[in-house]
């Protein structure tokens, strides 16, 4: 953190400058790489070696995205996808943390859920998608359900591991100072486990997005994945690539926001220092 800057030594000052130069070089290289990628895409698509269907030029794709944004379709699809993915992710987060906390406190609950989690975690749960469609239909409920089903497991395992790793001394001192079980959970155990819980959430978030997109592709309807599928059915290749770019941007922003949130929430923790 910035507070130690007062007594900075010449040696660290120099390495500070070289670190800054390095950062400049790296961000320059980053911009360069991404620009090269876009230019290569454009040139390759226009070279005549591939058909317009196989790879529409980037400018055409960008035009498609702008047109969708103007007509409002983009915003409807975006809102629907985000609503279902984030609602499912929210349920998985709250439910996963709650269940894992209960498991760490009540032995019967632990006994019941432990084998289910250890078998369920590595399973490809997306295979159950047709079963969920069979039960709940093809609307929002079933899409949110599969998102919860898939993204709850990383939250559960991370929370369980985080709680198990809480230092015994912390618990002893809190108990010694008269904390009851409730206070212990809310003021000691969960905060101490929060770095690992947040890691679990950071694993679960991309899973929620991946699964939401798959669910939309299988079930159809509104949403960024659904729109991609519709475009694909009508052999509208710029529409498909526009969907890819849109989904990539959404994924990128969500993951950055999550990382920022982590730094904010763990400002007290040594990892952010």
């Amino acid at each position: 953190m910035a507070r130690i800057e007062d007594n900075i030594s010449p040696a660290t000052a120099r390495s500070d400058i070289s670190r800054k130069l390095d950062t400049v070089f790296r961000s320059g290289a980053a911009v360069f790489s991404i620009l090269i990628l876009l230019i290569a895409w454009e040139l390759f698509a226009r070279s005549g070696k591939v058909t317009m269907f196989m790879l529409p030029p980037f400018t055409v794709v960008a035009e498609t995205i702008t047109r969708d944004a103007m007509s409002g379709d983009l915003w409807i699809n975006l809102a629907v996808t985000l609503y279902r993915a984030m609602f499912g992710f929210g349920i998985a987060a709250v439910g996963g943390i709650t269940l894992a906390t209960l498991m760490s406190r009540v032995r019967v609950i632990h006994w019941f859920f432990d084998p289910i989690i250890s078998v369920g975690f590595p399973m490809p749960k997306i295979a159950f998608l047709p079963v969920i469609i069979l039960w709940l239909g093809v609307y929002d409920v079933s899409k949110i359900c599969i998102v919860v089903f898939d993204s709850v497991f990383p939250v559960l395992t991370a929370t369980l591991a985080g709680i198990a790793a809480v230092e015994k001394e912390l618990l002893w001192s809190a108990r010694n100072m008269g904390a009851n079980e409730r206070e212990l959970t809310w003021q000691v155990v969960l905060p101490a486990a929060s770095p690992q819980i947040l890691t679990g959430l950071q694993v679960a978030l991309p899973i929620a997005l991946i699964v939401e997109i798959i669910a939309e592709m299988v079930m159809g309807g509104y949403g960024l994945g659904g729109a991609m599928m519709t475009a694909s059915r009508f052999a509208n290749s710029p529409g498909v690539f526009a969907g890819l770019v849109e989904i990539a941007i959404v994924g990128f922003i969500l993951i950055k926001v999550m990382a920022m949130l982590r730094r904010r929430l763990l400002i007290w923790h040594q990892e952010t220092a």
Binding site: M54, I116, V218
Partner: protein
């Protein structure tokens, strides 16, 4: 033995609950066929070869894609960790593609390579490459500079040094990256086959579901779930064996 039985008892209870619910008239037996009937149709599926044929296609796609991702992603990650210029230019692209929900590539790979094996292998390769690359990269960055210098000064070529020094020290993180990739490969395999395929587990699940053969559909779903679980367990054993030289 007894403790293992007690540990996995909840799974048995779930199975019994499933059977009881399906046999009672509380839920529609079409929506939830009894587990025993699912087992019977599983044997039928094995006997007429449908499950084995489609399964072989699926597993071939999965391991071909994953294998390519391990070789290319692993080499790329280690090379990035050793050569700073390569790192400066390739890392931004890795960062850019890392958060992409990989399932968005499904229609794109279909446009490129059609409905067959090629598009699935490409999809699984692209999806799995990023976690493997990041694992190899983080692992190789942690390899001790002193060891690299000693190997070089004793006359090891750059390639030799990569294989003998960087690779072993990158191994734990690389193997963790591959574990993530393995789980992702199963997800991409099933979902791409559900969406656009004429063969494979996912296709079979979709086909059986659309013809109303729900008992058989459940049998395939459970088979895929079990295979994913088993693959992870076997991989964990392999990981332990490969890392047995560590204290």
């Amino acid at each position: 033995m007894k403790s293992a039985a007690l540990r996995y008892l909840p799974l048995l209870l779930l199975a019994l609950l499933w059977e009881a619910l399906a046999r009672s008239n509380i839920v529609d037996s079409l929506a939830l066929p009894p587990l025993s009937k699912v087992a019977v149709s599983w044997i039928d599926l094995i006997r007429d070869g449908e499950l084995v044929d489609n399964g072989a296609v699926s597993l071939y796609r999965l391991y071909a894609g994953l294998g390519l991702a391990i070789v290319i992603g692993g080499a790329l990650g280690m090379a990035m960790a050793r050569w700073r210029t390569l790192d400066a230019f390739v890392n931004p692209l890795v960062q850019l593609f890392y958060p992409l929900p990989k399932s968005a590539l499904i229609p794109v790979t279909v446009i490129w390579l059609g409905f067959g094996d090629g598009s699935k292998i490409l999809l699984i390769f692209l999806g799995c490459m990023i976690p493997v690359t990041i694992g190899a990269y983080n692992g190789a960055r942690g390899s001790e500079q002193v060891l690299v210098w000693s190997a070089r000064s004793m006359g090891a070529s750059r390639l030799r040094m990569m294989w003998d020094v960087v690779m072993p020290s990158a191994l734990p993180e690389l193997l963790n990256g591959i574990r993530t990739a393995l789980a992702l490969a199963f997800i991409l395999m099933v979902s791409s086959e559900l969406i656009a395929a004429q063969q494979g587990f996912g296709y079979l699940i979709g086909y059986l579901g659309s013809t109303g053969a729900y008992e058989a559909m459940y049998a395939v779903v459970l088979t895929v779930a079990f295979l994913g679980f088993a693959a992870d367990r076997i991989y964990q054993l392999l990981m332990q064996w490969l890392l047995r030289w560590r204290e």
